[in-house]
């Protein structure tokens, strides 16, 4: 009996082995390799790569530039996640109806998620350009501004404690990530039984009450998972920051993933880059733990 069970188990594991193999090759091995690399003063241009223990980690933590970038990473992750969640939720609520063009609007709303970053970053870069921005053209035409705004360059223009390049970057990050959330929320909203909403209405609930006491509890499990998953992605986000500004101006929009790329491929300090990568991993792990706990509690 036990033998039969073992054979069954072996079969199961044989079936998942290909996926496991890919996981090991593309995820586990690079992580282990990165951890190993982070203990060496690994420089491409040297034959010998001396072991330096945790020096790379200490060097980074004592570097004001890295600390600023670490703060940027968390700031962008939190703000982009918060605003895109609000926007995603608002869009989902608006599109959770049955009208003539709702299907079309849903498809259009989903476009940012399926558009490659390289494509939309080129368009946003043009939108934010000092000389060619249509936003500037309209504002100047209407007499609202006299000089073009440098959306990605004017570090002295501050709103709510954040400079204009940071806000501009946030706009793109929010735009790029809200659509996924909208779709998830929309799916969750459509799973809320209509009779619950009807019952609340019969009990005298207004729209806010329905949203607060019926809709929100109904979509809360999805919201928590989406927010924690988005946090993981946002903490390790690379492409928009790299393609739009490469971290500039003056590191205002730099995040760890871009910085580690620069450490590795500009300065060829692979040991430092690996240590920066491990810090990113640790940051994302916090969000991942939250995510796992939420999904487990959901399963229960």
């Amino acid at each position: 009996m036990l033998k039969q069970r073992n054979i069954e188990l072996l079969k199961d594991y044989a079936l998942i082995a290909p996926a496991l193999l890919i996981l090991v090759a593309l995820v586990i091995y690079p992580i282990l390799s990165g951890i190993y690399l982070s203990f060496f003063d690994y420089n491409l241009l040297r034959e010998t790569q001396p072991y330096v223990g945790i020096d790379n980690y200490i060097v980074l933590l004592s570097d004001p530039r890295f600390l600023k970038i670490l703060w940027n990473t968390v700031l962008f992750a939190v703000l982009a996640n918060a605003f895109s969640t609000l926007l995603g939720l608002a869009s989902a609520l608006l599109l959770n109806s049955s009208g003539r063009f709702v299907g079309l609007l849903r498809a259009l709303g989903y476009l940012p998620w399926i558009t490659p970053a390289v494509v939309f970053v080129v368009i946003w870069s043009w939108m934010f350009s000092g000389s060619f921005s249509p936003i500037n053209a309209v504002l100047m035409q209407w007499g609202i501004i006299k000089s073009p705004i440098s959306f990605l360059g004017d570090e002295k223009m501050i709103f709510l404690g954040l400079s204009l390049p940071v806000w501009s970057m946030l706009v793109v990050r929010i735009w790029a990530s809200y659509a996924f959330k909208m779709t998830m929320f929309l799916a969750a909203l459509q799973n809320i039984p209509q009779d619950r909403i009807d019952a609340a209405r019969v009990d005298g609930a207004n729209s806010w009450h329905v949203f607060r006491y019926v809709t929100m509890p109904g979509i809360m499990p999805v919201l928590l998972v989406v927010v924690s998953l988005s946090m993981i992605w946002n903490l390790s986000h690379f492409e928009v920051n790299y393609l739009l500004t490469a971290g500039g101006p003056k590191d205002l929009t730099n995040v760890i993933t871009v910085y580690l790329y620069q450490l590795a491929f500009v300065q060829w300090k692979f040991g430092h880059a690996a240590a920066a990568g491990i810090y990113t991993l640790l940051l994302a792990s916090v969000a991942a733990i939250v995510y796992l706990r939420l999904t487990r509690s959901e399963e229960r």
């Binding site: 594991y13 360059g153 300065q267």
Partner: protein, 449 residues
């Protein structure tokens, strides 16, 4: 029990990865002879990579034609891939660190990469092979371009493109402002001309700048430093030498153009979305160094400007040096069939093929025979560049840290220095001192082998 089985499967997977990862590399032939695996009856192939220069279709068609002609002559198949420049630097870095390079590649920075590869990976010396396959190379190519592919007594490839960045100007703007192009010779002249060419609207916004800098802000410093009589390194290429009166003069001049005379756009140093080629095409810039990347951009996006853009010799201060760099085709330590690769290299190095490559991909050829083609003398861009060739100064520095020092991205000393000074974050003296120290530190680290 389940956990034990899972552990066994996981262990198996790790072992499989390790076995694959540690498999011995393909043994390459170290001589011009065919490797043992290449028998007379076997299909012979060369894998060739090249960065993108013209539009993809043009380049693909040209490479296919060349490969077909080569196959008809030799029976050897050339498989090629066009790499995007945005990924090329990283790919080439990795080839030089861990192998996996093609048989023949479009390369640059021979000095830097030969040191990174350390005689194991990446670009390989081919002087013996060239003596056998292309014996007249020295006669048929300009010495200045060959200097870019020679390092420590070795030859690393055949130069196929040469970039020289003298000065370009808008003839129509000069005419409109009543300026004589011949009167523009020195840095002082430049300031006066740039002031006359800069235009502001009623709100004081600059609608046209007299001057702009190279798109690559690290390279943008080279010519100014050289023309001020300075250099990046000493004659032994082991000491950083930019913290000198010449360095100060050059950096101060750049700062003054932007901030004092206000004839060059500060946005180029502040705004990551600033696109100097687009600004030139839009008529927002009257003069700038003639970077090679501008020519295809104008050809594709603003061909009408070919009538009004002129390329001329560089400005003069203490010297009249202009940026010059050569790209080359080279073999790598991963080259499998060296004989086939050298035949392909010799085929590409023929005068007629050098001319085809240069003309169709919009590059200036370092091949003397190719340059005899009237196309170059008549071309709106190359005619000016040819006149500037005597002022070319190689951008290569035989120090492995050079590539990192001059990378046009944040974190690279020259790039950071330019931004910090022009945006007023640091004084010229402070920035030069720090940059010199950073350069020296990087050079010393690389020297510790």
């Amino acid at each position: 029990m389940q956990r034990r089985l899972f552990a066994i499967v996981l262990l198996f997977c790790v072992a499989a990865i390790l076995v694959v990862g540690c498999a011995p590399a393909i043994v390459t032939s170290e001589t011009g002879a065919q490797p043992a695996s290449v028998g007379s009856g076997e299909k012979r192939e060369v894998f060739f990579t090249m960065q993108n220069y013209a539009d993809f279709q043009t380049q693909d068609t040209l490479l296919r034609e060349l490969a077909d002609e080569f196959k008809a002559e030799t029976g050897i198949t050339v498989n090629y891939e066009i790499l995007n420049w945005s990924q090329a630097r990283e790919k080439i870095n990795l080839w030089h660190v861990s192998g996996g390079a093609p048989d023949v590649a479009d390369l640059f920075w021979a000095y830097t990469y030969s040191d990174i590869g350390g005689g194991k990976y990446g670009t390989r010396p081919i002087e013996d092979l060239v003596a056998e396959y292309i014996p007249d190379l020295e006669d048929r190519f300009f010495a200045s371009s060959l200097a870019d592919v020679k390092y420590k007594g070795h030859l690393y490839g055949v130069p196929w493109r040469i970039g020289i960045y003298p000065l370009l100007y808008r003839a129509d703007f000069f005419e409109e402002a009543g300026l004589d192009p011949e009167g523009l010779q020195t840095w002082d002249d430049l300031v006066e001309y740039a002031k006359a060419l800069t235009i502001r609207d009623e709100n004081g916004n600059v609608t046209r700048y007299g001057m702009a800098f190279l798109p690559d802000l690290a390279q943008a410093f080279y010519s100014w430093l050289w023309q001020a009589g300075g250099s990046f390194m000493d004659e032994t290429y082991t000491q950083a030498t930019i913290d000198t009166p010449a360095g100060r003069e050059a950096l101060q001049f750049i700062y003054d153009l932007v901030n004092v005379h206000q004839v060059a756009p500060i946005a180029q140093f502040q705004d990551p979305s600033f696109d100097v080629a687009a600004e030139l095409a839009a008529g927002h810039i009257a003069m700038m160094p003639a970077a090679n990347t501008l020519r295809p951009f104008i050809e594709a996006n603003a061909p009408q400007l070919k009538e009004v853009i002129r390329v001329r010799e560089p400005l003069r201060n203490k010297t009249q040096d202009a940026f010059q760099g050569a790209g080359y085709f080279g073999l790598t330590y991963d080259t499998r069939d060296v004989d086939a690769a050298m035949q392909w290299l010799a085929f590409l190095a023929r005068d007629e093929n050098m001319a085809r490559l240069a003309i169709q991909l919009g590059q200036l050829s370092p091949n003397k025979g190719a340059l005899e083609d009237p196309y170059f003398a008549d071309d709106w861009w190359f005619s000016g560049q040819i006149k500037a060739l005597p002022y070319g100064r190689t951008t290569q520095h035989p120090n492995p840290a050079w590539g990192s020092i001059t990378n046009p991205q944040p974190g690279s000393p020259i790039y950071d220095m330019m931004i910090e000074v022009v945006t007023g974050e640091k004084s010229v003296e402070e920035a030069l001192q720090e940059t010199n120290q950073k350069m020296q530190q990087m050079m010393d680290e690389m020297a510790r082998q």
